[in-house]
């Protein structure tokens, strides 16, 4: 093959892979899966959206973000609050507030009656939170294990806060019993399929965003910062700003994932956003291959599927299987399963050489 054609194919390969995934998720899956299974797949897709962001921050940026549940939760709760108010009707207040509280609604709920405000909040809330947080962390040059522990602690704090505020956020039960999604009845299977398609479309969109970021100069600079931060400083860049951008984008993607999770799962609760949930997201990314384009998304889909299947067969022991898988992958394939072809190829080269 002539070299220009090879280069063209190599350049287009990621796009072809994304397109194949799009066909699989948007055409094949709705046509073959039962509505129950399709709904489950929808949940995995929401985790995959968050995982794509983690791939950017951790795989390419070297920041082990152990608290993405927080941003997943920001988006999830923002959406859930809107859906809750939609279910309550105009002037109505969410049912749990009369159940656990004195029947008055906290002021911060009010703007979420507006669908437009909610959609903007889903993107802006995590962006602002991540910017403030990231600024404080990266300018102080906090990195490595300290960064991981800090973000993990945030997830713990966030979940604890939610559980403690039962009158404002539904506490341990979270927010559930949504009836409609922006005017579409959620009990109608056609509408459920539409919500699924939106989530799948958003996953594809996020993949396209990171595809462009990875091939851009920013992507090169991010990898450079991951591998030699001090050297980047002496190229005239402030590494803090580069990491901040990746961190904020990752937070926004997690938020989008959470926002779609609420209507698909029908519930968002502290257990969906706490430290354990955050680690599940990380596990998927590590499994699939954190620095690869499709690795994080495919890993998250697999872990989600494994979670359901294993918990159906082994209701109590299934987490051990997942833990074991995680340990095996980290030990044998630190770059993830997606890197297996490359590992084999280099092993083959070594044995023939």
């Amino acid at each position: 093959m002539n070299p220009r054609l090879t280069a063209l194919v190599r350049g287009a390969a990621p796009l072809i892979a994304i397109a194949a995934l799009a066909v699989l998720l948007l055409v094949v899956a709705p046509a073959t899966l039962s509505s129950f299974r399709l709904n489950n797949l929808g949940k995995y897709i929401c985790w995959a959206i968050a995982a794509v962001g983690i791939g950017l921050a951790w795989g390419r940026g070297g920041m082990l973000v152990m608290g993405q549940g927080v941003f997943f939760g920001l988006g999830g709760y923002a959406m859930a609050m809107h859906l809750k108010l939609e279910a309550a009707g105009p002037e109505g207040i969410p049912d749990f507030m009369t159940l656990y509280g004195n029947g008055t609604m906290p002021g911060f709920w009010e703007p979420f009656r507006s669908g437009a405000f909610t959609l903007v909040a889903i993107l802006v809330l995590p962006a602002v939170a991540a910017t403030i947080l990231g600024w404080a962390i990266f300018k102080r040059r906090v990195k490595g294990a300290y960064f991981a522990i800090l973000t993990q602690a945030l997830a713990v704090v966030f979940a604890t806060l939610l559980i403690a505020t039962i009158q404002e956020t539904g506490g341990f039960n979270g927010l559930n019993q949504f009836t409609s999604f922006f005017g579409y009845n959620l009990y109608d299977p056609v509408n459920k399929r539409m919500v699924y398609s939106i989530a799948a479309g958003l996953l594809i969109a996020c993949l396209l965003v990171v595809w462009q970021l990875y091939r851009s100069r920013f992507g090169e600079l991010l990898v450079a910062t991951r591998d030699a931060e001090e050297r980047v400083r002496f190229l005239g860049h402030d590494p803090a700003n580069i990491k901040l951008v990746a961190f904020v984008v990752a937070a926004m993607m997690a938020s989008v994932g959470g926002a779609m999770f609420a209507p698909i799962a029908g519930i968002i609760s502290p257990s969906d956003v706490d430290a354990t949930a955050s680690i599940f997201l990380i596990a998927g990314v590590a499994l699939g291959g954190r620095a690869l384009l499709l690795g994080p998304a495919l890993g998250a889909l697999t872990v989600g599927y494994g979670r359901t299947t294993l918990s159906e067969t082994f209701p109590t022991q299934w987490t051990y299987f997942l833990g074991l898988l995680f340990v095996v992958v980290i030990l044998l394939l630190p770059r993830g399963v997606g890197d297996l072809p490359r590992t084999l190829r280099s092993a083959l080269k070594r044995s023939t050489a």
Binding site: S216, R217, F234
Partner: protein, 268 residues
């Protein structure tokens, strides 16, 4: 980057002036009141025994450690600026161990160094073609053939050249090179020396070096440091004739070779 007015380096008058530079590490003064004037077009060598404070001077000027005194370049005091701002002001440096981005290609390494000159929005675009300044740098350092190789596969000497190439792309007007020929073969040293001469015409280049042959062959000006102070400054011949220098620096090498004379008297 079209520059309308003539800059000091175009006029051949660029310089970096260091006055009374002191670096204090919790009470231990690694550098004590160093004065240096570094002029464009002269290869300025900084020599001295280990622990003399050579690298610390460079660290202070590039914002890696805090120093007091004055380091002025084009009316800016570098000691008050942060590392990446100092780089943007036109001061570039290399480190004792060559640090290139191993997973990126030679071309990507050079391209990334040109990022300072780009607008933020251009960053989200992919690279198209090779910018002229990257092409020039590739030619200057003689790595055109290897441009698509991962930098991690380069030989040690080539990595050092790549680093110098990155400074060229970054358009550093002042280059502070920390032992650029360490571990190089004789031919590589010669090539490096010629490269520094070529690019040194329109730049201010400072080289920290231990290899006395390299210093003798290429230095226009030599500054000898000892225990954090400037001991002597002058041409290679002047430095070699200086009795103080012979005692603390060159003398030791002679001594090591001859092992006859016992060092005595006061330490300067």
């Amino acid at each position: 980057m079209s520059i309308q007015t003539r800059t000091p380096d175009e006029l051949g008058q660029d310089y970096l002036e260091i006055r009374g530079l002191t670096v204090d590490f919790d009470g231990f003064k690694a550098v004590k009141g160093v004065d240096l004037t570094l002029l464009q077009g002269r290869l300025h060598f900084l020599i001295g025994p280990n622990g003399a404070g050579k690298t610390t001077v460079v660290d202070a000027v590039t914002g890696l450690v805090r120093g007091t005194g004055l380091a002025s370049y084009r009316n800016q005091d570098l000691l008050t600026m942060r590392s990446h701002q100092i780089v943007r002001a036109g001061i570039g440096r290399t480190f004792q161990t060559a640090t290139v981005f191993e997973e990126l290609s030679v071309l990507q390494n050079l391209d990334i160094a040109g990022g300072v000159h780009r607008r933020a929005w251009g960053m989200v675009l992919a690279r198209r073609g090779v910018p002229a300044y990257v092409e020039h740098a590739l030619e200057a350092i003689g790595l055109t053939e290897l441009r698509d190789k991962p930098a991690g596969t380069l030989a040690h000497g080539q990595k050092q050249w790549l680093e110098i190439g990155m400074l060229l792309v970054q358009d550093a007007k002042v280059m502070l090179l920390d032992e650029p020929v360490a571990g190089m073969s004789a031919e590589e040293r010669e090539e490096t020396g010629e490269l520094l001469r070529r690019i040194g015409q329109e730049r201010t280049i400072v080289v920290i070096e231990h290899d006395m042959d390299f210093v003798r062959n290429y230095a226009d000006v030599v500054t000898v440091m000892h225990t954090g102070t400037v001991l002597a400054e002058g041409s290679v011949a002047e430095i070699q004739a200086n009795p103080q220098v012979q005692e603390v620096y060159l003398g030791r090498q002679v001594e090591a070779a001859a092992t006859t004379e016992v060092e005595e008297g006061d330490h300067a």
